[in-house]
């Protein structure tokens, strides 16, 4: 039998049911992989060793009693943006260094309800603001993949959910939670050769998830297969009265949807996602993906999303505006770190200057400016109108097609230190992922091939709002056709 850390969630579920191994065995295998590799990868900020073992033993008891739920005994990594009762939650920021939530986020409560085991809290860009995991106050994360030609270069795992992606890729966890505000699940999934799912807005509750930009934040899973991603989303999703934007719609059987096939589906190819500076191998992989879908019986249709090019600039008004408001709560009074000052105002200003890193401070200031008197209409209101036009682009094309296929990111993983000289260069990483956040439509990144350096590249499937099932069906077909079997150089037992 292969190593326990190499199993998919589906295989582990079957193995637990057949009593080939126990949940404790499975958790111990992952905890020792973390012990061996986390000092190098820095994928976890906190490892909850004893809690994980307690949860695994409880899973074994349930299994012995014949009770197996969707995730009984499955060890997961939780992005350190989800509040976990009694386990420190930092959001990758110094300002939350001492914060231990007394409550559990709804999404993680759903996973626990279904029997999951939490290995610990995964590293991330500070407050999920970044595309490289370089802005974390707890240090960068190393991508377990290496360039063939330049094996010494330390690559980024992408971001903001970089620790979640590195943990799943290196076999330190069987799956992970992430959050995607502008691409923070899909871009790291693409960089680390994983499946990353951003569901429709409202599909997963945001309650108990540290807020970045409330109208754009989407919790979702990372997994090594599309089917595993479907199982995880099925557990995480569902209506939550504690989140007023949570959708009160039934959660379909996503795992079943993976087997639907794409025969007869109309797949759109948006012209605006093509650009002259797109690397040739990404364009080639995109064409290959369309050929795979055509061969499986789908019809490929050219479509236009005319406002695509304005997505990023719109995002960089809307997201900082919401962030400046959401992050006002970190004032050193009720929770988090405090830096004393001469008076209350000085306490606020010193606490926030010291507690927030440069990228977070920059975004709070941009957000404060675009919302300030005299500039609100010129920036924020205009951005909200363009956001409406971007949504209309999607609504218009989805009257004619069932899903869209695009590249996930404009490049493979880059090295630590690259793209750091200019904030806008880093922002451009999200050019293909941001529109789905602005429109609230579901999207998946699925590993489809390798670049000349042996690094993974993902393709993105975008679907209609609340039609994750079609997105899973298309992603599963891309996965089947791609037959992606490459492995990262740094991994448990590797």
């Amino acid at each position: 039998m292969s190593q326990l850390t190499d199993l998919t969630i589906v295989q582990a579920r079957d193995g637990l049911r057949a009593k080939d191994f126990t949940a404790e065995d499975l958790t111990l295998a992952h905890l020792s992989a973390i012990e061996a590799l986390n000092p190098r990868l820095n994928a976890f900020i906190t490892v909850s060793h004893s809690q994980a073992l307690d949860q695994a033993r409880a899973a074994d008891k349930a299994l012995a009693a014949g009770e197996q739920l969707a995730l009984t005994g499955i060890p997961l990594a939780i992005k350190d943006l989800f509040c976990t009762a009694g386990v420190r939650t930092t959001a990758g920021s110094k300002i939350l260094e001492p914060f231990v939530p007394p409550y559990e986020s709804s999404v993680t409560a759903n996973l626990l309800r279904d029997g999951a085991v939490f290995l610990g809290k995964a590293n991330l860009d500070e407050f999920a603001m970044g595309s490289s995991n370089m802005t974390s106050a707890y240090g960068p994360v190393e991508n377990p993949w290496k360039r063939r030609q330049d094996a010494n270069a330390v690559l980024v795992p992408g971001g903001s959910s970089g620790g979640s992606a590195a943990a799943v890729a290196a076999r330190l966890a069987m799956g992970a939670t992430g959050t995607d505000t502008g691409g923070s699940i899909r871009q790291p999934a693409s960089f680390c050769g994983l499946v990353g799912v951003k569901p429709s807005y409202g599909r997963c509750s945001r309650w108990g998830v540290v807020a970045f930009a409330s109208s754009l934040d989407h919790p979702g899973p990372f997994a090594r297969t599309v089917r595993d991603g479907a199982i995880l989303l099925g557990s995480m999703a569902g209506h939550d009265p504690k989140d007023s934007t949570s959708a009160d719609v039934p959660v379909p059987d996503y795992e079943a949807a993976c087997a639907r096939g794409v025969k007869g589906l109309r797949i759109g190819v948006p012209a605006e996602y093509r650009s002259d500076d797109m690397p040739g191998e990404i364009e080639a992989l995109w064409r290959q993906g369309l050929d795979w879908l055509r061969a499986a019986g789908a019809e490929i249709v050219d479509v236009s999303l005319p406002h695509t090019k304005y997505g990023l600039a719109t995002y960089y008004i809307v997201a900082p505006a919401e962030a400046s408001s959401n992050l006002a709560r970190y004032d050193g009074v009720r929770f988090g770190s405090r830096r004393d000052g001469e008076d209350l105002r000085d306490l606020y200003e010193r606490t926030r200057a010291e507690g927030f890193g440069p990228e977070v401070r920059r975004r709070i200031m941009i957000g404060t400016y675009v919302l300030s008197a005299g500039y609100y209409d010129a920036y924020y209101l205009r951005a909200q109108k363009i956001r409406a036009l971007i949504l209309k682009d999607f609504t218009d094309v989805f009257a004619h097609v069932d899903a869209l296929l695009t590249p996930t990111a404009p490049s493979a993983a880059f090295a630590q230190g690259e793209n750091m000289d200019d904030p806008i260069k880093m922002y451009l990483n999200d050019v293909f992922t941001v529109p789905a956040n602005l429109a609230g439509v579901p999207a998946i990144s699925v590993p489809a091939g390798l670049d000349a350096n042996g690094l993974p590249l993902g393709l993105q499937v975008i679907g209609k709002v609340f039609d994750e099932e079609t997105v899973f069906a298309v992603a599963a077909e891309v996965e089947r056709a791609a037959g992606f079997t490459a492995l990262p150089s740094i991994r448990a037992g590797g």
Partner: protein
């Protein structure tokens, strides 16, 4: 539109973030570069377009206006940097 040093200081003050004098110039360069890049949105015709506030496309639910939670000051205060009895404590505000 270009931000001058006085505007940078004003934004920092509105955001309650202390900015040292030597940081103003760097922030000015960075924020102006981001705002300059955002200017591209001015070329979009938005006449008659209704602003979109969010991704949720359903009516907000109503609920009864009743207390459903609370009554545990210890839990609420457990993360407080400073407390005085059942209260959060801050430096003296009123002389």
């Amino acid at each position: 539109m270009s931000l001058d040093p006085a505007t940078i200081r004003r934004i920092a003050s509105l955001a309650r973030i202390r900015v040292e004098e030597h940081e103003v110039e760097t922030l000015q360069t960075e924020l102006n570069s981001i705002l300059g890049w955002i200017e591209q949105l001015n070329e979009v015709n938005v006449d008659g377009v209704e602003p979109l506030t969010g991704g949720a496309r359903m009516a907000m639910k109503m609920r009864d206006d009743v207390v459903t939670d609370g009554g545990y000051p210890e839990k609420v205060l457990a993360n407080a940097p400073d407390r005085n009895g059942d209260f959060f404590a801050v430096p003296k505000v009123v002389e």
